[in-house]
Symmetry: C2
Subunit: 269 residues, 2 copies
Amino acid sequence: MVVSAVAGPVERSALLPARARELFRGGLVTPTAGWCDGFAQANLVVVPRDWAFELLLFAQRNPKPCPVLAVLDAGEVSGPVLGDGDVRTDLPLYSLYREGEAAGTRQDVLDVWQNDFVTFALGCSFTFEAALQEAGIPVAHIDQGVNVPMYRTNRPCEPAGRLSGPLVVSMRPIPADRVADAVRITSRYPAVHGAPVHVGAPGELGIRDLSAPDYGDAVQIPAGHLPVFWACGVTPQAAVLESGVPVAIGHAPGHMLVTDAPNWRYQVP
Amino acid sequence: MVVSAVAGPVERSALLPARARELFRGGLVTPTAGWCDGFAQANLVVVPRDWAFELLLFAQRNPKPCPVLAVLDAGEVSGPVLGDGDVRTDLPLYSLYREGEAAGTRQDVLDVWQNDFVTFALGCSFTFEAALQEAGIPVAHIDQGVNVPMYRTNRPCEPAGRLSGPLVVSMRPIPADRVADAVRITSRYPAVHGAPVHVGAPGELGIRDLSAPDYGDAVQIPAGHLPVFWACGVTPQAAVLESGVPVAIGHAPGHMLVTDAPNWRYQVP
């Protein structure tokens, strides 16, 4: 088993994306936060061509949760920031949806692939986590070695045709005296969700219990830290689920597509 | 005739968008540069639903010429920044395309409208012209009272499905000692074409004769000024023409949709 070769956080962070994709293609299942320092990770969502316009329009109307990095042509399985990668095999874990129902996770999607599938890669907040850490702001789920906690909120996205659904957010506990810095730093990355959508007061977002995230793992919130919420790229999967798309694929939350694109590409001055 | 009521540049610039749209709806035909100071103008392109995904994808892949401000649902004729406006009547002049051929201009498109038409509004460089003028940088076509000159270039856009075509640019002569300022100022408006794509050397873009623009009017280039080129929202119309879209509508170049959205909305810090 290959896990032992990449057991430590140092090794994970130093890997090149092509090697990480190779490990995931070979069967390694793990959340990807902290992997491949300096390289952008992406949310994946794949829908049939018949739904592609509405999904692209949903993204255009909801740019904070759905910042589009790339859209492949129908049936295409690789792209310019993936080297010889294959979106059907190179993520550590996928979620499958059928007729608006979750249809389990799987390590590749070769057997359910259709030639009319259109693949969307969306920016991921992992891109700005390195910038937070460089500024001395702790990133709890990396420090605690777990997946980032994500929550469905009570905020509806702007619908697009047949597609509608709630905003999904990721949460990071931030020390109260660094909240302003966290806003400032992440706002420089508009293509990967940018500034937070909410600071503190989870009840206002309809989140009753921070310790029971809808996706990912709970993290401890130290005293003097506030829960800070960023728009999350799982949002289109919630829409696919809510809107009864006949068949769709997403990354399993936190188990991202690791691309060859450097993080700095998504930073504005 | 209503033209006399808005003959002067001062009157034009002071009008509210709803009043300008009313004048255009009533039959006034004029380029819109310099109209309705402080309000964003938009490029229009309308295609059948069958082509809408490819057009939105074309825009996503070519964000400098095609910055999407809004996409209406199929058949819709108004939107949030148009008050009680109607995209079928409220522009001063439209271009019609059929089977990849220009099919003339018209003052409204009521008789050719289809219920499956999807309307795209794209950012327009007129938005940053006020900022250039405020910085003391002359805008030749406004000063000379003509339409902005636009040119088809030899640069192909990134294709999307069946849609492909050349980059179209607008040109403003800028004093050599203000070129850097013009870059800096316009780069703050990424949603309305942003920084120039080319400075000087029109031959490199395949433009042989600046005095013979493909759209709009020629402007005089004073000594010591350089021709500076910005990506232009006529680009998707060039693609519609080149790609044989069965039927499509655009604004006539320079004759824009005047919206209720304030220009500052499109400025980044």
